[in-house]
Subunit: 458 residues, 2 copies
Amino acid sequence: MRKRQIILNADEIPKQWYNILADIKMNPPLGPDGNPVSPDQLAPVFPMNLIEQEVSDQRWIDIPDEVLDVLSLWRPAPLVRAYNLEKALGTPAHIYYKNETVSPAGSHKPNTAVPQAYYNKVFGIKKITTETGAGQWGSALSFACSQFGLECKVFMVRISFDQKPYRKSMMAAWGGKCIPSPSTETKAGREALERDPDTPGSLGIAISEAIEAAVTDESGETRYSLGSVLNHVMLHQTIIGLEAKKQMEIAGEYPDIIIGCAGGGSNFAGLAFPFVHDKINGKQIEIYPVEPAGCPTLTRAPFVYDHGDTARYTPLLPMYSLGHAFVPPPVHAGGLRYHGMAPTVSQLVNEGMLTARSVGQQKAYEAGVLVARSEGIIPAPETTHALACVVEEALKAKEEGKEKVILFNWSGHGLLDLAAYDAFFEGNIKDFAQTDEELEASEKIFADFPKPANIKSR
Amino acid sequence: MRKRQIILNADEIPKQWYNILADIKMNPPLGPDGNPVSPDQLAPVFPMNLIEQEVSDQRWIDIPDEVLDVLSLWRPAPLVRAYNLEKALGTPAHIYYKNETVSPAGSHKPNTAVPQAYYNKVFGIKKITTETGAGQWGSALSFACSQFGLECKVFMVRISFDQKPYRKSMMAAWGGKCIPSPSTETKAGREALERDPDTPGSLGIAISEAIEAAVTDESGETRYSLGSVLNHVMLHQTIIGLEAKKQMEIAGEYPDIIIGCAGGGSNFAGLAFPFVHDKINGKQIEIYPVEPAGCPTLTRAPFVYDHGDTARYTPLLPMYSLGHAFVPPPVHAGGLRYHGMAPTVSQLVNEGMLTARSVGQQKAYEAGVLVARSEGIIPAPETTHALACVVEEALKAKEEGKEKVILFNWSGHGLLDLAAYDAFFEGNIKDFAQTDEELEASEKIFADFPKPANIKSR
C-alpha cells in the first residue's frame, strides 16, 4: 500500500519557531516622525511580549507549552503525497502538500491566533480586536480566544461579509463578534463610508477600524491582533515548514520547488521560510509566492515605505505596496485582497530569494476543481491560486521529462466559500487586472514618504 | 506536555472490517411475497458484490487495497482526549472522542461511500443514485464517486436542501448532481408532492426516489446506494471502532460508556459494534445510541417489519419503526430524521445490549456550543445529540465521584450547518415531540405486515 499521508508523532511537534530575522537584514518600520518606531510606541496596540517577538533577531524562539497544548489538537499536520493529482496531470513530478485544512477553523490561521491569544492573556489583556478578509483569520482568532477565555471582536471586509454569511455564525459559535467593515463604529470606518457608501471594503480599511477600536478602549485591557504581514505572525507560522522539513526527510525527498499563495504572506512564509534558510545556505530551490492578478503587489507594485492600513494608523512598513488606499477588486479570495505584503516576504523577493507569480481567478478555480476531484479536499479560494501555479509547474516538469519535487501549502479548505464555486460553475468568475495608469495613480499616495535603503527597483 | 491526540501510524489502519452478523441472530428481510428476500431480487438495486456483503456472516471481511488507498487520505483518524471539556464540566470522567470530522466531506460517511463506489465500479456500474438528509451522505458519495470516476445523483430532503444551500455546491465541486426531494423526476416524488405540495420531505421519500431512478434506468449501468441502515454500511463503518480500540489501548484505558448519535445508525454502529463484540463476550460497557426526541424510533416505536422507504420499494426490514410514511418534524439534524433504524442496531437494542436515549434540540445545541468552545471543533447538528448525552454522563460521573471512561463518536463538523447555530443564538430552536396518539396513528401503516420472530415488546 502506497503511503499518502506522512504523519509525525505527537512528540515530534516542533518546540521552537524559526525566526527569519536572524538571517536577513531589514529596513526598520518608521514612526510618524520618520524615525524607527520604538517598542513603546507600539504598546497601545500590541502587548509588550509580542512586540518583543516582533523585533527579536534570535534565530530560534521557544513555543510555550500552553500554546503547544492547543496546537496539538490538530498538529503535527499531515504532509500528503498528491498521487492522484500527479496521475491526473500525467506528470513525473512528485507533488506534496502540507494539509493546513485540519485545524478547527479550517486553515493555517490558528497557528498564530493561538500564540497571539496566549501572549495577550499572559499580558493581562481581556479583549482582542482584529480585521478579517475572507473570514479565515476572524474565525481562527475567535477560536483561539475561546481557548483562553478572551473576548474577540472582528471587523470583516464587507464584500466577504456579504458573500460568506456563515463566517459570522462560525465566529459566534466560538463566542466572537463579527461586524461588516467599513462600519459606523469607528472614525476610520465612517470616513471610508463617506468617501464611498457602496465600497466593498478592504483589508486596509478593516485594519484601521480594528486598531482604532483597540487603542480608543479606555479600559486599557484591549489590544489589536493582526493575522498576517508582521514579523511575529510569520514567525508563528514557521511551524508549518519546520514540520514539512521533517516529513520530507521521512519521505526521503527534498523539494525543488516550493509554492504558496500570498496575500499578507503568512501561509506562504510559514511553509517557505525554513527552506529559505537552506537556500541562503546554498540549497538550490525555486520558491514561488502566488498572488491574484487583480491585486498584484509583489509582481507589479514598487518596494516602498507605506502604511499597512488605509487610515494610516500603522507605522510605515518597508514593503511592496499598491498604496494604502488601494481597494482591490472583489476577487473571491478575500484573504489575498491586500495592498501590501509582509516586509520579510517583500525583502526576500527584492533580494531574489523568492520569485513572485500571479494568476487570474478563472485559472485558479479551474485548478481548484481539478484538485478537489483528484485529492478530495475542496480548496479555499486563496489556495486555488497556489494550485494554479502547482499545475503549471507540474506540466512544465512533464514537458521537460523531469522528476521534480514540488511542495505546496494547502492553506485552507473552501467549505465556507462554496458560493465562489457556484459562481465558477455558472461561468461568473471574472479575471481582474489594473492598467499601468491605474496602478500609478493609486501608488502616488506614498510618493512623499521616506524611501527604504538598499532596495533594487524593478 | 499532555497528549491530546492519539494517532496511529499509516500502516496501523485496519485491513479488515468487523461483521456483527457473525455474533447476532437476525430476522431476515422479506420480499413482497412475505418470504425472505433473495440476492437476485436485490440485483436491480445493488451490485452483486455488495449484496454478498450484505448477507455475509463471516466475522472479518478484507478491505480492498484500492479502498484503503482512498481512506488513507485521512485515516487512521485521530482519537482525542477531551481534556478541555472535562475541565469545563469539572468531571473526574475521562472523555475521549473519535474525530471523524477530518475526512474531505467532514463526516464519517466517506468510510462507506468509498467502498460502495469501489464495489460498484468493479461491478461495471457507471452511475450511482442516492438520497441525503442533511447532506453529509450526498457529499460523501459525490466525493467517493469522483475518486473512482463514477457519476453521482443525489435526492436531497427538501427542508435540508433549503436550509443548507451550500451542500449542493459542495457536491457540484466533486461533480455530483443534487436535486431537492420530493422532485417531479420520479413517480414516488410526484405522489409525495400530490399528497402535500408543501412537504419538508423525508429520508423515506428521498430513498424511494433514488431507488426508482436507479431501477428505471434502462442502460442497466445505474445502481442505488444507501448511506446507512443496511448491514454492509454498518460493516464499512466499523473501521472507526476498530481504530478506536487500538487507540484506547495505547491510552491504557477501556471505555465504561460508549455514545453515538443514531439516525439510521451507521456512525453509532461504526464506533460501537467492535465493542459490542466485547460486551457479548462478557465485558461490562454501557452503550448509548442517542436520537432526537422529535424522531424517537428506538425509544418509543415498536419493533416490527416495515419498509425502509415511503413508496415501499425496499424489502420489509426487521427494525424499530415509526411507520414508513412518518414525516419527522424539521429538526436541524437532518441526518437523524429517519422513521426506521438499522436492523442490526434495532436487534441489539431489543436484546438489551444497547440502551437507547433521546434528547431535545435545545439541550443538544447547548452541549454543542459548550463543546465547540472547549474542544474547538464546531459539531454537526447530529453530533450535538451525542454530546448532550456525553455531558449528562460526565456530570453523573461527577456527582458519583467516579473516574468513568467515556468514548463518543464525533461524527461530523457543522461548517455546512451554521444556520442552525444562528437559530440557536437567536432563540429559535424548537423542541419537538409527538403525542402517543400521533405515534400510534403513524404506526398503523405496518399493522398488517408479518411480525418478526423472537422479539421482546416494550
